[in-house]
Each structure stands twice: as structure tokens, then as C-alpha cells.
Amino acid sequence: MKPIDPRVHQALDREIAREGLPPELALQVARLEAAAAVLGTAVSQWAGGSVEARVMAAIRRPAPSRMWRLARWLAAPHSVTLRIRPAWSLALAAAVALVTLLPAGDETPSVGEQEGIAQFVARFPGANSVHVAGSFNDWRSGTIPLRDADHDGVWRAAVVLPAGAYEYMFVVDGERWVPDHLADRTVEDDFGRENSVVIVRPAAR
């Protein structure tokens, strides 16, 4: 990068008058000031609504109820500091190590280089069971269950699959075949309905 004459900086910082500058330096000052002037033109507002309207709408929205705030606080992760005696800390560390070494059901699996994880989420309040069936499991309707761990009607499953595109549907209560309404890719199943499509990308990307 070519350094410019210090007098250009001084003129731009209003430390010296530009009238006394040699023509080539005056041109540099003018060029930079013109660039700043162009950048100083107003930016037109977003088509979706003015900043003021969006902000005032957020400000006017009623504050969430105490119960809602409590529920949100309970659901959010918080750091907790424990203060324990050194002797007890050794025993606690040993207990934690033991628990960690025991096989756990919910570990993150090791995923191969050409594999990824497909996440399935669906809302079926009142359902007794929800499974996903598709071209990744020969369309078997009972082998990959979704779970509704907190009984809020939202069912979830994560499946390790080779990278690729798969067609699938949900099977509710063992008999009702339902497309994934949250999926943004669909394709005709040639049986009069639509399958959802998921694309699994390699996890190592």
C-alpha cells in the first residue's frame, strides 16, 4: 500500500488549510472527500417495514408473564457454581468419572467422514407413537422411533446416515402415514401422495 503525503492527512483532519496544497495532493483530498460524500448518501429503507416501525412494535408488545419467564428460565441452560471442601471434591470427581465411563444411552455417536446426521422433528400432540420410514430403512415403519421426551407433543429423532438424498414419511400410531410438514423438499410418491426429502451432508465439512 502506497503511503500518502502527511499533508493530505492533515488537510482531511482540518489541521491545515487545503488551499495551500500542491495540485496533486489537493486532488487526493478531493477524491477521498468525494468518496465519503457518496457513502454519506441515505440508504433507502427495507421493503419489509421501517426500522422505527419494527422497534416500536417490539417495545409496545406486552411483556411476557411471570409464568412464561419462569418457564423460559427453567428451559435455558445456566452455569452453576458449587463450593465444596477439597476432601469431598476428590470423592465427587471419582463419582463423576465412574458415571462418565459407564455406557450412556444419549452420547453423540461417532460419525464417519461420508456420513451425516438427519434430524427429524414433528408435532403430533396426542399421538402414542411416531416413527419415520424412508429409503434409508427400506420403508420399515417400526424401526426408527421418534421421542417426545418432555411430553409436549413435539417428537424428535436423530439418525446417522451416509451422505445423500432420502425420501421419507412419518408413521403415526403405527398406521397413519403423514408427510413432514416442516420439510421444504417434497416429491410425488407416485401413489397419489407426496414424500418429504432430506439431504444429509457429510458431518466433516
Binding site: 487526493q28 477521498l32 454519506g40 448518501t41 440508504v43 433507502s44 422497534v55
Partner: protein, 182 residues
């Protein structure tokens, strides 16, 4: 921008903090254009900039009581927006890449003069986008938003000599880029 006869920023802040939420709209109208312009030039995207500025105002409203010097509200607001832009750029890695040479989206009300202005703006924006983000920020705050070095120090948390150096380097880089593109 405050006009003589308008309530001062400190007065408006006091009104909002005493319960007059609607008064916050006065602050938005006063500073929206400058903050939007700054964020747009920093991020290179008008709509993302509008999101950043709206979120910044909402954050400012919620933390208004923590603005220690309401008389320097403008600096405080620029600080919030500058930090939001920094986070966005760090996530999106758009800092040092030139804009593609794509034509602007057609505006049905364009006439020749407006088209020429748009082309000039595109030229300067391309040159600006080639600057590293901290130099771009320094140039915009100094020469477009008109902040003093003291105000820039309050916005960025950097020392004045550091800011002066960034502005100098930004001028050099911008001049070189403009001369190359001319």
C-alpha cells in the same frame, strides 16, 4: 440530528425512563438514518443492516438505564451498532472480500442522473469492501458519520492514536483502490 427547540437526548432519555415509551420513537427518528447508513456500509447488505440497527435500538431501549451519559447517547448507539456489525462480520467472514461486479437491481423511477450516482456508489462501495473491517469502520465513523476521534474512542473502545493510524491506513488503501478502479 437534534434541531434547536427539540428536546435534548438527555431529556428524551429521562422521559422514556419515567415510563413514556413512545418518546423512544423520537430517538429512533433522530439517529436511524445515520446508524442505518453506517451499518449498511459496514456490512454491505441493506437488509442485514436494517436488522442489525433494529436489534440495536431494541437493545438500547431495554438497557437505557445503563447509558451513563445520556448527553452522549449518539456515541452509545453507534457503539451498540458497531459491536453488532463486528459480531456479524466475524460470523459471516465478509470482512475482506470485494463485492462482485453485478449490476444493481433495476429501479423503475431511475433516470440518467440517478443511474450515474448509483454507479459511483457501487464503485466506492467496492473499494470500501476491500478494506479490513476495522479500517472500514474507522473511515466510516470519521468521514461519513462525522464523529470526532474522542467519540470514536468511546464507540470502539480503542485509543485515539490507534484510531488515527487506522483512519490514515484506510485513506491510503481507499485512495489506491479508487485509483486502480478509475
Amino acid at each position: 440530528m437534534e434541531v434547536r427547540g427539540d428536546p435534548s437526548d438527555a431529556d428524551v432519555v429521562a422521559r422514556v425512563l419515567s415510563g413514556d415509551h413512545e418518546a423512544f420513537g423520537l430517538l429512533i427518528r433522530r439517529y436511524e438514518a445515520g446508524l442505518l447508513r453506517f451499518a449498511t456500509r459496514m456490512l454491505g447488505d441493506r437488509d442485514v443492516a436494517a436488522d442489525a440497527v433494529a436489534e440495536s435500538f431494541i437493545r438500547a431501549y431495554r438497557h437505557l438505564a445503563s447509558c451513563r451519559e445520556p448527553a452522549r447517547l449518539r456515541t452509545w448507539l453507534y457503539r451498540i451498532v458497531a459491536n453488532r456489525c463486528k459480531s456479524y462480520l466475524a460470523r459471516r467472514r465478509m470482512a475482506d472480500v470485494p463485492l462482485d461486479d453485478a449490476p444493481p437491481v433495476a429501479d423503475p423511477t431511475d433516470n440518467e442522473a440517478a443511474l450515474e450516482r448509483a454507479e459511483q456508489l457501487a464503485l466506492v462501495e467496492r473499494a470500501l469492501a476491500r478494506l479490513a473491517s476495522e479500517k472500514r469502520e474507522a473511515f466510516l465513523l470519521k468521514h461519513v458519520e462525522g464523529l470526532s476521534y474522542q467519540e470514536m474512542a468511546a464507540v470502539t473502545g480503542e485509543r485515539i492514536p490507534t484510531l488515527k493510524m487506522r483512519v490514515h491506513r484506510a485513506r491510503e488503501a481507499l485512495l489506491q483502490a479508487l485509483e486502480e478502479q478509475a
